[in-house]
């Protein structure tokens, strides 16, 4: 039985990855999960310089999900290269670094710094709803998506994943723009912008007012967007959004995802990623699927 998948020439031992921002650089979760069992670890977004992020409260629970407005707090690329990459190199898993920035130059600087680093892929976050500059602004306009993809590709030595926002009228427009700009892989979805109000204190639940909605609640929207995107582009897709079980992961793969990322579910069960790998294997055994590639986009 073959669980290997291929993303732009990079072979993952299985399609299960972590979703950026929910798993740090893997260190904390390595107490619960054997990182060697995962297809890839995707790190928290890293910028050219350290970012403070937003004031607290940064998160709020919602029905079947959560809102976050962490605001891309990160230690900056220098400390990241010195500490986080060597940590991940100890494991037999692929390393995908998620990159954020306020300007195109910020993104390119990080990408350039990573060029000679032992990382397998870069994921460019142009879809974070929780920062004032950069982030989602790049991700809601097809021209901007194409432009930043092109720029980043100039500096990138590793395959580039463009991470798309679901807060758009037509996801396929953004997907095609990223593909036109040279993206090797697409990942979707980032969080849906949401809000929660505390009716007793009559204030916003998050200091940032709005936050990104993630978790099981958004899974049907993610599946739909992955499906639509798979019909619209040729590059492989990493599907994410509310994956909490092997069933959810398989659903995403059947819709057209080559690999999947697991985010919010890690907070509900720190061992979930490994359990999903095992659950996909069980499904393949039960239905005698010899190669997981048979499942990718199998429902049309």
């Amino acid at each position: 039985m073959n669980m290997e998948v291929n993303l732009a020439g990079v072979t993952l031992k299985n399609p299960v990855m972590t979703a950026s921002g929910t798993f740090g650089s893997g260190e904390e979760f390595s107490e619960f999960v054997d990182l060697n069992k995962l297809g890839a670890v995707v790190t928290k977004g890293v910028a050219n310089v350290p970012w403070e992020g937003n004031p607290t409260p940064r998160i709020a629970e919602t029905y079947g999900g959560m809102l976050n407005a962490v605001g891309l707090q990160n230690p900056g690329i220098d400390l990241f290269v010195q500490r986080d990459i060597p940590f991940l190199k100890k494991y037999d898993t692929k390393i995908i670094v998620n990159v954020c920035g306020r300007t195109t130059e910020d993104y390119c600087e990080v990408v350039e710094r990573l060029a000679d680093q032992p990382v397998d892929m870069l994921e460019i976050n142009i879809s974070c709803p929780n920062v004032k500059e950069g982030g989602i602004a790049f991700g809601q306009n097809p021209k901007a998506v194409e432009a930043i993809t092109k720029e980043v590709k100039k500096y990138a030595k590793q395959p580039v994943i463009m991470k798309l926002s679901p807060n758009v009228t037509d996801i396929t427009e953004m997907a095609k723009a990223a593909e036109a700009g040279g993206a090797d892989v697409l990942s979707l979805i980032n969080t849906l912008t949401g809000m929660k109000i505390d009716i007793n204190r009559r204030t916003f639940a998050l200091a940032n007012k709005t936050g990104g909605l993630s978790g099981s609640a958004i899974h049907p929207v993610a599946v739909r967007m992955v499906y639509q995107t798979a019909q619209a582009v040729k590059v492989p897709i990493i599907g994410m959004g509310g994956i909490a079980t092997a069933e959810d992961a398989i659903e995403m793969i059947l819709a057209g995802a080559t690999a999947v990322s697991v985010g919010t579910a890690n907070f509900h069960n720190p061992m979930v990623t490994e359990e999903i790998v095992n659950g996909i294997r069980d499904y393949m055994e039960r239905y005698q699927v010899a190669d997981i590639k048979e499942l990718i986009g199998a429902v049309k």
């Binding site: 921002g21 929910t22 798993f23 740090g24 260190e27 904390e28 979760f29 107490e31 619960f32 928290k44 350290p50 970012w51 403070e52 992020g53 607290t56 409260p57 940064r58 998160i59 709020a60 629970e61 029905y63 079947g64 999900g65 959560m66 976050n68 962490v70 707090q73 230690p75 900056g76 400390l79 978790g215 099981s216 919010t264 579910a265 890690n266 907070f267 509900h268 069960n269 720190p270 061992m271």
Partner: protein, 255 residues
């Protein structure tokens, strides 16, 4: 790296010890055996609509029987669910989490405000020094018995129905108390006032903070507090309450 475990804990017993305040003893496999005063556990809800863990401080540890006690107030849907558990029910927990209080041999104030009192119980049991418990309540008292025989005890109530009328600092003043070290847990305004008091009086001071959490283990950066110095992990002036905390030196953190 401190060891952490995800376990299916079993409720030994649970009772409502004051209006809306519950005490629950949990049988664990390993967590209680490794736990320290001031650490907390994450409890997960059975109801699928609630995905995030609830952080609750460890109130008492029975290392021999691998059991631990939590005392919590019903504050919302999750704690309401927990309050319905009874002997033999199981619940998923992760722990022990956070750093816990340092155990120093100095004349100490153990200050607890409201639902910040529970962690003081195990701390009082493990501290080997002269202990003065200063407990602040709105009106109804709870967990008082637990401190008997562990040191001297002073109580403040907001409505003056028991002990000093006012807050914990009023009780300290009224009783003319002093100490070389402070351990405190409670609402933020109380911690803020204690920090000022400690600095003004040059007393070593440790505060246990609260913040909304998602992962509870240091990975998601949800639960930060502002730190005075640049934190070595974050590389900015933010520390993770769930990992570097919940207990911080008063001088380290900004409110």
């Amino acid at each position: 790296m401190a060891e952490k475990f995800k376990e299916q804990a079993v409720v030994i017993r649970q009772e409502e010890i004051s209006y809306g305040i519950y005490s629950m003893w949990l049988k664990t496999e390993q967590i209680a055996g490794k736990a320290k005063p001031g650490q907390f556990i994450s409890l997960y809800c059975h109801d699928g609509s609630r995905m995030l863990p609830r952080p609750i401080s460890i109130c008492e540890i029975d290392a021999k029987d691998n059991a631990l006690r939590i005392v919590y107030r019903v504050a919302g849907k999750g704690t309401e669910e927990f309050s319905g558990l009874s002997t033999g029910d199981s619940i998923e927990i992760v722990g022990p989490l956070g750093n816990g209080f340092p155990l120093k041999e100095k004349k100490a104030f153990l200050i607890g405000g409201g639902i910040g009192i529970p962690p003081m119980v195990e701390l009082a049991k493990q501290l080997n020094c002269e202990k003065q418990m200063v407990l602040g309540y709105r009106d109804t008292l709870f967990l008082q018995e637990e401190f008997k025989g562990l040191g001297s005890m002073y109580v403040a109530t907001e409505d003056g129905s028991y002990g000093t009328e006012g807050n914990v600092l009023d009780a300290i003043k009224e009783n003319g108390l002093d100490a070389e070290i402070i351990y405190a847990c409670g609402p933020t305004p109380m911690l803020k006032a204690i920090k000022e008091y400690a600095i003004a009086n040059g007393i070593e001071c440790w505060l246990s903070l609260e913040e909304k959490m998602a992962c509870g283990i240091g990975a998601c950066l949800a639960c930060v507090c502002k730190s005075k110095e640049k934190d070595s992990h974050s590389n900015v002036n933010n520390k993770r309450v769930c990992k570097e905390g919940p207990v911080f030196r008063a001088e380290e953190v900004e409110f």
